[in-house]
């Protein structure tokens, strides 16, 4: 599988061109007098592009993006922070883990969307109900990874740390913490993604601002162009966030063989 970067990029662009071409033809060229992708249901690529340009020439879109970004970041920070703390606590206290284990599994099995109305009831229609929804998603991912990270610390490295004279606290700082962090960062893409899902789904279900609200509002008036424009903006937003996460990951996990291999 040796494809040069340029060829790969060309192929990736080709996929987009083909998909847009099918969309364009289906929605604006009648074949045997029939539009395969009627405008009312599918809009057209040009309309969507024009709408996106129009949106970004105004200021409102920045407000929506800002709200969604804030919710995503807050959900990630709070969820990850809680996951790290509880993950450490459970991993170091087997009794606590044993007692709470069935409840953790129960809570994790619950589809989080059903919590959204409750959070709205408790926290209102502002950003905090969306943050709470994102937190419930991020928390479990980080929690399970940190728990695993602490549990899977190499016994040899730990014995070595003890023989080098490390106290419990120093073992925590120099051995458990870095190990748990590396596991947390390996799930960074997933957890940031879920923070965003929480924010957008929350907005979609009830809010007055954000990308999810934008899409929901367009849907309410059968404005398919608006819905597609919102989806494209959301997708671009995810790509940018993901690129930032990758950059952070490569920086922080420079000691890991696979991270270094990716740089090379």
């Amino acid at each position: 599988m040796s494809v040069s970067k340029r060829t790969l990029l060309a192929l990736q662009i080709l996929v987009a061109v083909v998909a847009l071409g099918i969309w364009h033809i289906g929605s604006s060229v009648p074949i045997f007098g029939v539009y395969f992708l009627p405008k009312f249901f599918f809009s057209t690529p040009w309309d969507v592009a024009a709408r996106i340009v129009k949106l970004f020439s105004g200021t409102l879109i920045w407000k929506h993006l800002g709200i969604t970004l804030t919710e995503t970041l807050l959900a990630f920070v709070i969820g990850a922070g809680g996951g790290v703390l509880v993950g450490f606590w459970f991993a170091r206290r087997p009794l606590v883990n044993a007692v709470f284990d069935p409840y953790v599994k129960m809570a994790n099995a619950l589809p989080r969307v059903v919590l959204a109305p409750i959070f709205m009831l408790w926290l209102g229609l502002g950003i905090w109900s969306k943050v709470a929804l994102g937190v419930t998603l991020v928390f479990f991912i980080v929690f399970f990874n940190v728990y695993q990270g602490v549990k899977e610390v190499s016994q040899t490295v730990l014995s070595n740390a003890r023989m080098l004279g490390m106290t419990e606290q120093q073992q925590f700082r120099h051995v458990y913490w870095p190990s748990a962090l590396s596991w947390m960062f390996s799930s960074l893409h997933t957890s940031v993604g879920f923070a965003l899902v929480g924010a957008v789904v929350g907005e979609y279900l009830g809010s007055a601002a954000g990308l999810g609200y934008m899409i929901h509002e367009a849907e309410g008036v059968f404005d398919t162009t608006g819905v597609f424009a919102g989806m494209v903006i959301l997708a671009a937003f995810v790509l940018i966030v993901d690129a930032i996460v990758t950059a952070i990951e490569n920086r922080l996990l420079v000691w890991r063989p696979d991270a270094a291999g990716r740089n090379a």
Binding site: N160, R162, S179
Partner: protein, 280 residues
């Protein structure tokens, strides 16, 4: 007990209880149960200050277990461990331990790995790093300080491990088949490095290996353990080859061959027993 005896192991018994095989849990009261594994039985061994002693024995004979008892990582089920005349409770703070497996912290650079032993003892970072640079040079890794463990070869990682242990200036060096994973040439080079460093400051060394030639080339005394279970010390040979030695050249010495033959005659029986025990 004289304080010039660095390590004294007396009548050590190590029994792994069926319930748990975790390191440090060997001391468990109560009667013996089915499934208990009596790894070491009545092992007695002492190492003088400044003496280099190797333990050789067949695979699975409890050599490493005995070493862990001397380090305090494992408490023997019976028997006494004393370090410079004082009964050992908890970890052996006077010992440095070089492990068989990779024991470096993968998230720290070579320099950070070496310096950590001083940093956790409260020495300021600048001094600790300066000393770490010195020790990296001592083990032949000048300029490798910024590398992470995965960026180094197995031999280089062992060198970092050696520096990591020696920077704390322990009076006792415990080594558990430290060069086991390395290729034959690298092992000999590492053996020579160890001898050079040991000659500078004579520490008491307890060196576990399954390689008899390596043991003879390095040691003042070679101790033979019987095959497990209930393995114990069955032979104790003084190696009177002249020092300083070259770990490679000494193998060509006629004296080396004589000693090798004498020890191997005894060891062979144990190796065959262990082999038959495995294949049976």
């Amino acid at each position: 007990m004289k304080p010039d005896i660095a390590i004294s192991l007396e009548h050590i018994d190590i029994i792994y209880r069926a319930r748990t095989h975790a390191v440090g849990d060997a001391r468990d009261s109560g009667p013996a149960r089915a499934g208990d594994y009596h790894a070491v039985s009545q092992a007695t061994l002492s190492v003088q200050a400044g003496e280099f002693v190797s333990i050789v024995g067949p695979t699975g004979c409890g050599k490493s277990t005995l070493l862990n008892a001397a380090s305090g990582l494992l408490q023997p089920s019976n028997g006494d461990v004393s370090i410079f005349g004082a009964t050992l409770t908890g970890l052996n703070a006077q010992a440095g331990y070089l492990f068989q497996q990779d024991a470096l912290m993968p998230w720290k650079t070579a320099l950070e790995n070496v310096a950590i032993g001083l940093e956790v003892a409260g020495i300021d970072t600048v001094t600790a790093r300066d000393k770490a640079e010195h020790w990296l040079a001592q083990v032949g890794l000048q300029g490798f300080g910024a590398r992470y463990p995965h960026q180094m070869s197995g031999g280089q990682r062992k060198r970092v491990g050696l520096a990591q242990v020696l920077i704390r200036n322990p009076a006792i060096l415990l080594m558990d088949e430290p060069f086991g994973p390395l290729d034959a040439q690298t092992r000999q080079i590492m053996g020579n490095l160890l001898l050079t460093l040991w000659a500078q400051e004579r520490k008491a060394v307890l060196f576990v290996t399954h390689d008899l030639e390596e043991a003879i080339a390095l040691s003042d005394r070679v101790v033979i353990m019987s095959s497990g279970p209930k393995s114990t010390i069955i032979g104790d040979y003084r190696i009177d080859l002249a020092r300083p030695r070259d770990a490679m050249d000494v193998r060509l010495d006629p004296g080396f061959h004589a000693i090798h033959r004498a020890i191997w005659d005894q060891l062979r029986g144990e190796v065959m027993k262990a082999y038959q025990g495995v294949s049976a």
